[in-house]
Symmetry: C2
Subunit: 185 residues, 2 copies
């Protein structure tokens, strides 16, 4: 890759992260180009679709997801608290930018999406948490990690779109958690 191309690539990424966090994932592409000091053509050459750009931006903060999942697995919290803590982190993570939950949850399980690998990271992390509960027989067996991602992602979508407060999220998550656990309260 040519030196100027590399420089632009990085500049675009840096500006995109900034703009996405200010105005959401639907922010005008041309604005990002302008603020990065490049032409629209240049931006589109580097990132042909909006999703390609989102994928690149999201990449950096997706690593922490694995760490969070491992923490929860290692934590010895009771099932209910473990799930709440994990789902809460999950929702927070994908809700970092407005429009993020819909984007990510919509691509969940769709191998053609440019952001599929990110979804897979999330799904795998979720599988690890669920797996540790399943081993102990705490979890219902008729639902897989993909569907749990969709369900928790769904909560994040409505919270994001409706501007709901954390309490609402938590009370919806509590219902989901009770639905996932085997035993009585």
């Amino acid at each position: 890759m040519r030196a100027d191309a590399l420089k632009n690539h990085e500049k675009i990424l840096e500006v995109a992260a900034q703009v996405f966090s200010e105005r959401g994932l639907d922010a005008p592409i041309d604005d990002i180009a302008t603020r990065a000091g490049v032409g629209a053509g240049t931006l589109y050459r580097h990132f042909p679709t909006r999703d390609d750009l989102i994928d690149a931006v999201v990449k950096s903060w997706m690593n922490q997801v694995d760490a969070t999942a491992d923490d929860v697995v290692a934590s010895d919290l009771p099932p209910r608290e473990a799930l709440l803590s994990w789902f809460d982190a999950y929702v927070t993570r994908i809700s970092r930018n407005k429009g993020g939950p819909a984007k990510i949850t919509g691509a969940m399980g769709n191998a053609d999406s440019p952001i599929y690998t990110k979804c897979e990271t999330l799904r795998a992390a979720n599988e690890r948490v669920l797996g540790s509960l399943r081993e102990r027989g705490e979890l219902r067996s008729d639902i897989d990690s993909l569907e749990v991602c969709r369900l928790v992602g769904a909560v994040a979508v409505v919270a994001d779109q409706g501007g709901l407060p954390p309490e609402s999220v938590r009370s919806m998550l509590n219902v989901v958690i009770d639905g996932l656990l085997n035993s009585p309260s």
Copy 2:
């Protein structure tokens, strides 16, 4: 209202229902105007915002919601089956047009939305079903009908956006239902 205005109003409504079901609630407004044989200005005079138009279109099939809720309440089904039957109908109803779940669930609880009254109809119907279970002590008490609407609506949103099959919806609904009911399975 003048006779020509009335005629146009009805024609627009008829065409909008058609176009929305073909192409989803995001279909271009100008297309609807063209296909209704009126100018864009005319359409916008009758329905200043897209939501006003959606509200008018949705009005007709919102009545059946009350009937469905009453059927479920009267049916004497066991709690689990009653809720599944009701939620399934709920999801089906709001998913009639692509984009419908997001629109409706996003407006849920937001009194400023032009489609608020429709949301209230749904919420009230949901409250009736939940109330009949609550009376019998079957339901957890720390969640209200609005949040249940959001939760079930959330399932519909991801199913709509991801093109999920009815089985996926049903298995997510089952989790929600188990989370809402008090007793063990």
